[in-house]
Symmetry: D2
Subunit: 110 residues, 4 copies
């Protein structure tokens, strides 16, 4: 991920002396809460309806999730690009194209 934007996110919290609260468990809790705030926009609605009425809110909530991802990675000294590439490699083994093509099943049910 863009080094500059990671710095902007980390600095935002440091300026407000928030690092004291940012232990990994509470950051993981925060990620769950933000993911729910995003999902709430789709409650009782179809995908299309929610997107057409609330694109700005969806963008804001998605941004919140990304901010907490960066804070959690920062608290554990994880490189975001590296952990994504590692996971894509693992997923490539779990979901080989030949087996997984067009299928929505979980890897242990392919």
């Amino acid at each position: 991920m863009n080094r500059k934007i990671i710095e902007e996110i980390v600095q935002f919290g440091d300026e407000r002396n928030w690092k004291q609260y940012h232990n990994p468990k509470d950051l993981a809790i925060s990620l769950t809460l933000e993911a729910s705030e995003l999902l709430e926009i789709f409650q009782w609605s179809s995908s299309e309806e929610a997107v057409s009425k609330n694109l700005e809110s969806i963008s804001d909530e998605l941004a919140d999730i990304l901010v907490y991802c960066v804070l959690l990675a920062d608290s554990l000294d994880l490189d975001i690009d590296r952990i994504i590439r590692n996971k894509l490699q693992k997923n490539n083994i779990k979901y080989p194209i030949a087996k997984a093509y067009g299928k929505k099943d979980k890897y242990d049910e392919l």
Copy 2:
């Protein structure tokens, strides 16, 4: 976010003909599920205990969350860096340094 890694993530799904499932509502659901898989690592444990025993799993689950963030942004044509910067600006107004310094309260309780 790094343009190349976004392409790798999107291509992974396209190679497997998964775009048909990737409507925004189901992607938002997926973000919630992945956030829970991350949080599960911390269930019944302190932050330190969970991190010392499970750093690789935490990295993998965080990567899953980031992958779905990219897929959702891609499905809605959202630029990740731009939506993060917009949200930091809004947060700067909700949480001015003078008011928010050292405090964990939500903005409407500051």
Copy 3:
């Protein structure tokens, strides 16, 4: 709620010496995790498809949620019937029939 079934649930945990883990915060985390396991059954599927293929899993996950609700209520000495009735009263004020009839909006948008 049926006093006997509450006792069966609480006893199940006591027989296994699990009360040591059942602090309210970790029970609240558990409720989130179980709710996600239920939601996962509906991932990528329509409501009808998920129900027709997985009614037993849905029942099991719903039961898990209810078990944790009972454990949380028990840890805080809350009476389930009483807290439900209190909340229905508050909801009656937030969602008066005349205003809320047929509407899915949140109370602050009615």
Copy 4:
């Protein structure tokens, strides 16, 4: 569960013509959202601090979760006491007292 309170919950929704929204998938989403609202009370706090400051909010959010559990069971014609007992039986096999005593591990790691 107490038949009378189930009727009060179901009737509350029927009086407001809300059954049209109460398909199982959206009810499962709602359970996730309510579980998050409960968990939010514990964000950044210890269990004790959250309970001492917010017992009424915790009761309200727990009640919301229970209300949605009842609505989901009602939409699928499930008997709450029966599905709980079924699950306790399955848990008894997954977590035999001899193996599970005092342990917080998941059943597949016992």
